[in-house]
């Protein structure tokens, strides 16, 4: 399986994602934001970080960079595109997934382990995964997902919510929401479910001696689904 990770100026989880993808069997290439063409890929990843410093709305500058035209075309033709953290912010700025990401409710950066409940398994990201709940890790300042009531209805009607913040037993309640996101949303799909944006970093959970290993479950499952 071939993957590509896009490096924007200010990306800082690009290497971590490269390490994770390779660990689970992807042949990964790093792609520079100023390139025009994507290498042949089964999966494109927009990594975390602070693209262009996030001095405007997070992700807005990166969403206009040269490579993104190809990424958008790739997504629109059904290609798998995953945006993590800043990558999620870039995805909402391109409009590939609906909604926006606001500043965290308590106005502070949060770095910690959280649990997410998988809401939809009929897609190539979560299909066949045995767990209903995964322990992931978040590290962000703007992860407070928001959309209009009309958008929310559409998202829910199309079953586009990918994961929700929850407790270790899968209970989705406001109390377990780290950033104030609407309906505890931690990640969403586009309508076709080939584009996934999420705040948590599975690439930081790939080794027992790191924050945990549930990222390994995710990546192992992902590569098997793509085969």
């Amino acid at each position: 399986m071939k993957s590509s990770v896009i490096t924007f100026p200010g990306s800082n989880c690009d290497r971590d994602m490269d390490v994770a993808l390779k660990k689970f069997g992807f042949k990964n290439k790093m792609v520079w934001h100023n390139d025009a063409e994507l290498p042949k890929s089964d999966l494109i990843v927009l990594p975390g970080g602070f693209s262009y410093g996030d001095y405007l709305r997070c992700g807005s500058m990166a969403s206009k960079s040269k490579i993104m035209k190809s990424v958008i075309n790739f997504a629109n033709s059904g290609g798998m595109v995953m945006g993590i953290c800043n990558g999620f912010q870039i995805l909402v700025e391109t409009g590939l997934v609906p909604g926006v990401l606001l500043r965290n409710k308590y106005l502070e950066f949060i770095c910690k382990n959280i649990f997410v409940k998988i809401n939809n398994k009929t897609n190539r990201y979560f299909n066949n995964i045995k767990n209903n709940v995964l322990e992931f890790h978040i590290a962000h300042n703007e992860g407070n997902y928001f959309c209009t009531q009309d958008q929310l209805k559409e998202i829910e009607d199309n079953d586009q919510v990918a994961i929700n913040y929850c407790d270790k037993n899968g209970k989705v309640e406001e109390h377990f929401n780290p950033n104030g996101s609407i309906k505890n949303i931690a990640g969403i799909f586009n309508k076709e479910k080939n584009v996934l944006g999420m705040m948590p970093h599975p690439e930081r959970m790939i080794d027992n001696c790191l924050s945990g290993e549930d990222g390994s479950i995710f990546f192992n499952n992902l590569i098997n689904n793509l085969k």
Binding site: R15, Y55, F109
Partner: protein
Amino acid sequence: MIVNEQVAIDHGLKKDEYAKICELLKRTPNITELGIFSAMWNEHCSYKSSRLHLKKLPTKGKKVIQGPGENAGVIDIEDNDAIVFKIESHNHPSFIEPYQGAATGVGGIMRDVFTMGARPIANLNSIHFGSPQHKKTKNLLRGVVHGIGGYGNCMGVPTVAGQTSFDSSYNGNILVNAMTLGLVKKDKIFYSKAAGLDKPVIYVGSKTGRDGIHGASMASASFDDKIEEKKPTVQVGDPFTEKLLLEACLELMAGDSIIAIQDMGAAGLTSSSIEMASKGNLGIEINLNKVPCRESKMTPYEIMLSESQERMLIVLENGKEKQAKKIFDKWNLDFAVIGKTTNSKKIQLYFDEEMVADIPVNTLVENSPMYDRKWKKAKLPKKNKIKKEELKNFKIIDVLKKILANPNICSKEWIWQQYDHTVMGDTIQKPGGDAGVVRVHGTNKAVAASVDSSAVYCWAHPLTGGKQVVCESFRNLIAVGAKPIAITNCLNFGSPENEENMGEFVECVQGIGEASEYLKFPVVSGNVSFYNQTKDEGIKPTPAIGGVGLIKDYNKMITMDFKEINNVVLVIGKTEGHLDQTLFARNILDEKNGPPPEINLFNEKNNGETLLKLIESNLIKSAHDVSLGGIVTAVAKMCIKGKKGINLNKPKYLINEMEYFFGEDQGRYIIEVGKKDLKKVTDILNKNAVHFDELGTINENELYIDDKTKVTIDELISSNTKWLSDYMSN
């Protein structure tokens, strides 16, 4: 502007210093030259009050590749890998403008590290605030934490450990010390020594603006009522540009075009160009019209003294300019050839085709003032006679809960959760333990780092305090299973012109020197910050020690959480029950006098090295050093982390229970041992003449001493975790 003695005094120079400048130049300096002298001769850049004493610190060792004098120290961690590290203060700017002050402190120290070719892999910090009740404390704390996070998070370097304290002596002068570790191949270390004639001098990074002018001079003076006016001397950070600068520099460093490289930190273009020339015994000629400026009509004076961030100065090999420029173009950074090396041994500046400065380099460096300041030796205070009857009025559990909720002991999760501590995917011990630990990417090795200070002990007796901080750093590394290698120090003191403050400095440095010599734990880098005072009110002497150690196999790393029910818990090291200057004495008994606990370097070394042997033999399940709050506080923290309890034995020998449980005798660790390994462990301890007491066994969920003296771990957790978040949300 005509330069005279008054202008020099306004620049922070003394009368005799100005006279010396005129004598060295054999003429009156012009305003640009005077600015350069004031920047190079201030305390912050010249170390004029401290140089004499710093020379006495042990700086060499088998593992030391580079000691003090470069951008940062470098140590060998085998297999051609080396760690570059340093700690630096950003106290004054952080008090004036906490967010930017702290942010640029973090940015500055990371630049020091990657200037040497190393990719930063871990950040740490030591931050000290005034009393929680002081009106400024909350905002300063919030600003500093946001600033540290804002910069480090954006750079993508994990903040893995730190220290936060509160004490009213910091009411008018907070401390913000930032430390960075970087990883480099031993044969790819870059230095700041220029070499060769007619080599191009290159400016890269951000443009030069009017921010931070005279920042270093501001940091070399006490605060007064007009502190708000000093805001323009604080630099403004741009972590995004620094991230680009990091990647561009490392890309350029992969080749062989760099002769010397130096970041523009304190005193900006002035100190960077002069240091490179001085180390290479060369001259440098700069055309200031070529310096990329953010604002129009900047004068030579402003260009030379600006402390705009995220800038580097490089001496390149001839003919490599194009290739280098391509890299900086790719990263959208300014790149300008601004001058060349010469054999004049002078710093010569041109602006609008006129020479605006012409100063022999040695007058700025070797001939800079050095003072043997008067200092007062501190007496060892007499021991307090705390009455045993008085101690009987206290209940262990009540005191323990109070101590766990004390601002200097309580959980600092509110702080470190705002720092990205897991980016780079190698953090194997997060903040909240004895030391932060990161793997050396792609290897079985890991590096542990900790930062410590004990202002109360240093204040009570500077010599003992100085030793103690080094020992505590040593212990924190050993407690995670790392072999201590070297330290960096950030020496935060009041005014060197005050004999008592100067005495504190001299004796703390002596203590640091003695301990690091004995423990073979040399000082490889550091920084001095004097004038931490508002008007005449100085801070408690606060040397911060950043220690670095190596874990050869990271699977052997130890954490402090209790692991398994029925395992046995021991305390290593002798408990004498020293109460003076302890958290218990100061905060519960309200007794502020007396000497700090004594340091026995033989025991420190022997206890530590023996524990390391036990860890290497896989005999230790968890470990934690005993520090503030004594045995019971250390044990309680291990319970909290592991969500387990302990049946705690009472002392078997004569001393009082309160002294036993809350005394802060040094050289001690708490360790957890499996029942089947107990004999092996005690045999090794006995063989090495290490004193130990059996403290008890681990249980499910209760700290239990007797039926009247017990508490659930949940209750301890709530005492420990609530204070800071409650304080910050009110």
